[in-house]
């Protein structure tokens, strides 16, 4: 049974960059390079990757805050890829974004209540209705109604993030993009926000795209997880499959690079060599091959691996671990 709320097909987003020097020519950064994904109604998809892998660009392109170069975005059955700003406006209330930095994403000169009410004003609610809704939202995210009259600087980071969540949810969206919503917070506050998001997810039946660099955080909230590397999806699977039986060598390295809270487990780690290559000049073939511990075929160097199904709802793009036609029981060891 498939009832996708969001379908992204073959999305490409490039940026022109200047060369930096006076004479050198600029180039094209392919921030998102052919990404396809679907999110079912009520589902939360996690998007994980290191800095510069294109995860935030993808999130913004899906919301049409960036204009994609190629590919299609279908939201709620409607192709929104080429809608004009005006045509997008009625859809904006249905798709909301929560930002990473709760310090810069709120207007310092507007009260918190004013920030939350702004989207409602655009929707045409009268002041009484707006005030009522603001109070509801503050209560929903664990704040008090008197907080509405306060300014952002009077709040701590965790509280500001609650305000950001209240603002996004005020207009009753059906789809939420969360871009690193807890990365700027201290761990004890981070867990408060993660628990809140989990409650809201259940309570409101939200469909979410959760972007983060921290696999632990993603696992806590997501039904399925996509791992991105240099603009492409390396692996997508259900959260249990990803942690129990990930296939892609990059996913494995990413997983083993996370420091565990158990000092007795220090030794079993795969440490990747080298840096993430520049997206301005990505490696040929599989973009991971220069750092890959298992790259051994010539196609690794020459050919981009396609995403291949390696199990139920589990896809990976790897010539070695996910060859196109393979007996999965044998290859996956």
């Amino acid at each position: 049974m498939s009832d996708p709320l969001l379908e992204v097909t073959d999305l490409v987003k490039t940026y022109a960059v200047s060369g930096g020097g006076f004479r050198s020519k600029g180039g094209l950064v392919r921030a998102v390079d052919g990404v396809s994904l679907t999110i079912e109604r009520g589902e939360t998809l996690g998007l994980v990757g290191e800095s510069g892998c294109g995860k935030s660009t993808l999130g913004r392109a899906i919301l049409r805050l960036e204009d994609p170069d190629r590919g299609t975005i279908r939201f709620d059955g409607q192709d929104i890829t080429n809608l004009s700003t005006k045509e997008m406006r009625p859809l904006r209330a249905k798709m909301q974004l929560i930002f990473q930095d709760p310090f810069s994403s709120l207007d310092p000169r507007t009260t918190v209540g004013g920030s939350i009410a702004e989207g409602l004003r655009v929707q045409g609610l009268d002041p009484d209705q707006r005030a009522k809704r603001v109070n509801e939202m503050l209560e929903l995210v664990g704040l008090e109604s008197y907080h509405a009259r306060r300014f952002p600087h009077e709040f701590s980071g965790g509280q500001r993030q609650r305000v950001g969540i209240a603002r996004a949810l005020a207009v009753n969206p059906s789809f939420l993009v969360l871009d690193e919503p807890v990365s700027a917070l201290d761990v004890s506050i981070q867990s408060q926000i993660l628990n809140l998001l989990k409650d809201l997810q259940v309570e409101l039946g939200l469909t979410m795209l959760f972007i983060a660099h921290n696999l632990g955080v993603v696992e806590h909230l997501c039904d399925r997880i996509s791992v991105m590397y240099l603009g492409r999806i390396a692996e997508t699977s259900s959260r249990n499959d990803l942690f129990d039986s990930c296939v892609h060598p990059y996913t494995q390295a990413l997983m083993s690079a996370i420091p565990v809270l158990d000092p007795t487990r220090r030794k079993d780690r795969v440490i990747l060599e080298g840096d993430v290559p520049s997206p301005l000049n990505p490696p040929s073939g599989c973009r991971f091959h220069p750092r890959c511990p298992v790259a051994n075929t010539t196609s690794c160097v020459s050919e981009q691996p396609p995403l291949v199904s390696v199990g139920s709802a589990h896809e990976a793009a790897c010539h070695v671990r996910a060859p196109k036609e393979a007996d999965w029981g044998r290859v996956r060891t």
């Binding site: 004890s188 867990s191 628990n195 696992e219 806590h220 083993s256 420091p259 565990v260 440490i271």
Partner: protein, 350 residues
Amino acid sequence: MTDTSVSTDSTQRRDQQEPILNVTGLKTYFFTRAGEVRAVDGVDLSLKPGEIVGLVGESGSGKSVTSMSILQLVSDPGKIVAGEVMFDGQRLDKMSKRQMRNIRGDRISMIFQQPNASLNPVFRAGEQIAEVYAAHTALKKAVRNERAVEMLEKVGIPDPASRAKAYPHELSGGMAQRVMIAMALASKPDVLIADEPTTALDVTIQAQILDLMVSMRDELGTAILLITHDLGVVAETADRVAVMYAGQIVEESPTNELFADPQHPYTQGLIGSIPMPGERRERLTVIPGRVPNLVDMPPGCRFAPRCEARIAHNLTKCTEVEPDLLQISPGRKVRCWLFEEPDPTADGAS
């Protein structure tokens, strides 16, 4: 990673050694218009040769101010108001600025969170490392440059001779942090203070840098004070951990024991609040409330307003009297009234 048998040997040897760095009763206050900010309020900390001690805490817990105080780098409106910093038999807090300058960057060096911001943008990487030798040795220029390239090689930079000619903006974050480590270790210091060295880096690069720090410790015997907010980083690298909360150390323990069996309610909450992959907990532990205002500290235990254990054990003392750092077993200390020996003269009400 490091060979465990080697590190156990060296751990045993270390136990008999005198600390190279010993901080006692350190208090650093900031005198601001809003009031007296007690950023560090009575910290005792020691570091033995070759030991990695993790100093963990959330923002505002005073971990960075502790390290700045050790290096005598606290500037206005901050002031070290009490305490002693002993380094290799000398009182750092009694030294002149000139004496301190000779020690910093030579016998005690440091690395910071933002490697690109800590390097001088107008000098090549190699020159900046060679400068350490210029400041602290009498080596000739050609030898200094040669040594700089050797250091770059040691910290795992590929093609070190050509990388030595690179400017900081040409280096990635991970590379820049390697250059910082090369610079910090060029003088073979006794102590390295690393303040959030991997916080700005991606996890795969963080793993490389932590690995490098441990192997450099094994090779050079440098003691490392690793300051971080990330308990995972500490679990991976430190021999001993001190957990800070609101300007004080609330728990100190060998790393294995801390993670196997955390004692202080704050440490327990902190460990429980971190989502780890593969764990699949439905709900994370939450520490209610937030860090107290350092200007207006709660009376009694600083963690008391957020402490659920206090309520569960029905302790009233917590909000009235400040607990001491109590020794609960060899090498383990906890600042919590739950661990107070029952007082035979008391009537048992508390």
